[in-house]
Amino acid sequence: MVRTSLKIVGASGQGIDSIGEVVAKALKRAGYCVFGYREYPSLIKGGHASYQLDFSDEEIRSTETTVNIVIALNHHGLEINVPDLKVGGILIHSTESWKFPKEIETLIKERDLKIIEFPVEKILKEMKAKPILGNMLLTSFVWAILGQKADALKEMVRERFAKKKDVLDVNMLCIDTGTAEQKKHDDLHVPLPKSKKKWAEHLLITGSKAMGLGAVHAGVRLYAGYPMTPSSPLLSYIAGIQNETGMVIKQAEDEITAAQIVSGAMLMGTRALTATSGGGFDLMSETVSLNGIIENPSVFVLAQRPGPATGLPTWTGQGDLLMAIHTAHGEFARCVMAVSDSTDAFHLMNDAFTIAEEYQTPVIVLTDKQIAEALYTEAPYNQKKAKIKRGNLVTDPEKLKKLKSTDRYNPDAKDGISPRWLPGSLAATYAAQGDEHSADGTVDESSSNAIKQMDKRLRKMAALKAKLPEPLLYREANDKWLVASGIDTDLDVLLIGWGSTKPVVLDALQTFKPSNLQAAYLHYTYLWPIKTDFLQSLALKAKKIVVVEGNATSQLSMLLKQEGVRIDHEILKYDGRPFFVDELQRHIEETLSTAVSPRINSGANNRSS
């Protein structure tokens, strides 16, 4: 598998994202699988940001630490990003008469790098074009370096500016100019493998937008939220399409409000969603507890970024797993699941609502900044998969008539799941009661009732655990990593992960393949209640069990150990960056060679302890 990569670097607000998105889309349309990764500081303008694209003719879903091409939109890129280039790599910039310091000069020689000054301003002046067009110039220049046809780019531009003839024309001119410029450098080529048509039909989409689509698909009709990175892109996307979807959108005054609004809306009977990040989730937690006792289906998206407090607000991490499981006072049934990429983000939305409605309890869906903002190339989502299942929701008028108030929280209901019916139904009424209550929602503080109702609610948890699928096992088959039902040989290493680590682990395994090594990856989508039977059966055959996750305390390990699972190694990263594929690969190798060190704390520095 041949990986190619390029990285646009510069100040936030300089157009990094627009170049990145155009090139990514054009590459995908040309028949490549693209993975896009954004890094930016918590600032509106300025600050060093980057957009990296890793692409291939085969499936790709991770970022490497080094790239083939760097496009530096300002001189900071020259200062910072030269070491990011692979041997033979190309750096394109437009800073006049730049002088590198000595070490960098040496590096440039050693790695045989090409430093290309592309005089954007000068060319623009000649063209009498606006500065904003510099991005199109650069894009077409790079496009030519990748050996791609200018037509593909032109078509995209034509789509975009169909109605603005003058804008279109000048963009076309830029493409021609940029393409022509590349011709001046005859050794400036980064050849790509042959393209594959299938990718052209794929979606190129962030996890946030896929999640938004998934929510719309799942029949979510109300969204209430409060801006907080990295949950904001979901809010912005869903709000942005409101005129198409006809959804009710509420930018609430705070997270508590958003949580309460969706809870009220769910009680009334629609599907409603909210999302936030750690700090906002702290504030929502009391409402989660409320939904536990009133048995109100509800779905909360928790988009993780590194804490504590404001922490690294525009970076990624997986540090809120145990919080999601244990936050919110009191004991009640809840489900915690995690999406791992855009496809998951799409499909798990309906799944989350199904569980919420079937078990009449809160569901927390974990995502993180990586998933929220990375660009994934994925097959169009299968819309035949989902079904709207609303559990024990009574809507039939005849059945409604027969209901008694005491059916609502009947403690003897099978699996603790009693019938639910909506306000406005012509039926006996009940109180959705936040105090401990008897079957019809009457406050009842007696010992016997407290036990009955607690048992009722926790029985749902047992039933949910029984029903949830086991974690997914990935094994190699014909050079691809696919879901398998079990293993037939002993394993040298069993990797375990959750959330956004999945794609990079699979890519690492795909790339790194000592022929004789027996490896497998076990992915936890459902983290609470946690199932370990399958894992335990695998553990018996695994020489090393390695947990890989993006936090400092190895929270998944803590969960698994609680269930008696043996964990031999932990590969941890908590510097706000996702795992990079080559870095992870190195760490996996380390765990194989290390007999003792149980924990590898990984930063960009790849420290091991």
Partner: protein, 296 residues
């Protein structure tokens, strides 16, 4: 919001009767509010299954299992956004929210502010007993400065909040004041409030013989007067605000201000214009094929 009348049903007080016995102290003003709410719903011919009543936590919240109808008893301070969310999901159902002065002017004051400026079409009934009843008589923001209370033996060091000036600063569209001792008037106010287009703020001065010794039933009784008796025009905002704020000599009750011209939150939502269904009715698998196009 126009109220969906069940043509068949003409509910009676019996339909709202619960077997659960009230647990308020003797002489508590909540008894009066409880009666008036049921009375208003009955007079409006709203049967119990066609209303959602949302209760905050506090003494008033103990009403949640003392009457029939779909009810919700939530968290301290949070009743307004919950009720608003419920209403957004099904605008056809009248939604009433009940909260205490502690809940509404301390823990949940942000929700009150934003509830009013959002013009949610719900009724908010303030059980204004001037203290935290359920937690045994601490001062609320509406307790007079200097009044010794539980946890503030020297009286509170903060200024008492002028609730009516505050509420009027938020450009409300319906403001009423009632007294828990006058069930008939409160019933009429509630009927109007339920019929109001937007957010109806109903401040009920509620006796709390256990902890409120500064605004007792008799003291209130002596000082209230009905604005309708004095020809007050509830569309006159300036006048309404003045008589709402100034309670130094007498306390105005009745519908102080009402404006039916301002569209409510739901009416203002651009994507919901001309939509006949409610979000509750729209929960079906939605085809996202068109939305996916931009990503290809």
């Amino acid at each position: 919001m126009p109220i969906p009348l069940d043509p068949a049903g003409s509910p009676s007080m019996k339909d709202y009767h619960s077997e659960n016995r009230c647990t308020w102290c003797d002489g508590c003003g909540d008894y009066g509010i409880w009666t008036a709410v049921k009375q208003a719903l009955v007079e409006l011919k709203i049967p119990p299954h066609e209303v959602l009543m949302c209760f905050d936590v506090g003494c008033h919240g103990n009403m949640s299992d003392k009457l029939m109808g779909y009810r919700f008893h939530g968290l301290h301070g949070r009743v307004i956004p919950f009720a608003a969310g419920a209403k957004m999901a099904n605008p056809k159902l009248p939604v009433l929210a009940f909260g205490g002065d502690g809940a509404s002017f301390s823990e949940g004051i942000g929700h009150l502010v934003h509830g009013i400026r959002s013009q949610y079409p719900i009724v908010f009934i303030l059980h204004n007993n001037g203290n935290y009843g359920l937690t045994t008589g601490q001062a609320s923001s509406l307790t007079p400065t200097g009044q010794p209370m539980n946890t503030s033996p020297n009286g509170i060091p903060e200024q008492t909040l002028n609730s009516m000036d505050f509420v009027f600063s938020l450009e409300p569209t319906f403001v009423a004041r009632a007294f828990s001792g006058d069930i008939a008037q409160l019933t009429q106010i509630l009927k109007s409030a339920i019929g109001h287009r937007g957010f109806a703020f109903v401040d009920v001065l509620q006796a709390c013989p256990s902890y409120n010794k500064f605004a007792t039933h008799t003291m209130l009784m002596d000082r209230v007067y009905k604005v309708e008796d004095e020809g007050h025009d509830p569309t006159n905002k300036e006048n309404a605000r003045r008589i709402a704020i100034d309670t130094s000599k007498r306390i105005s009750t009745g519908i102080l201000y009402r404006n039916e011209e301002v569209p409510n939150f739901i009416e203002r939502l651009v994507p919901r214009q001309n939509v006949k269904t409610t979000p509750v009715e729209e929960v079906v698998l939605q085809d996202v094929t068109k939305l996916m196009e931009e990503f290809v």
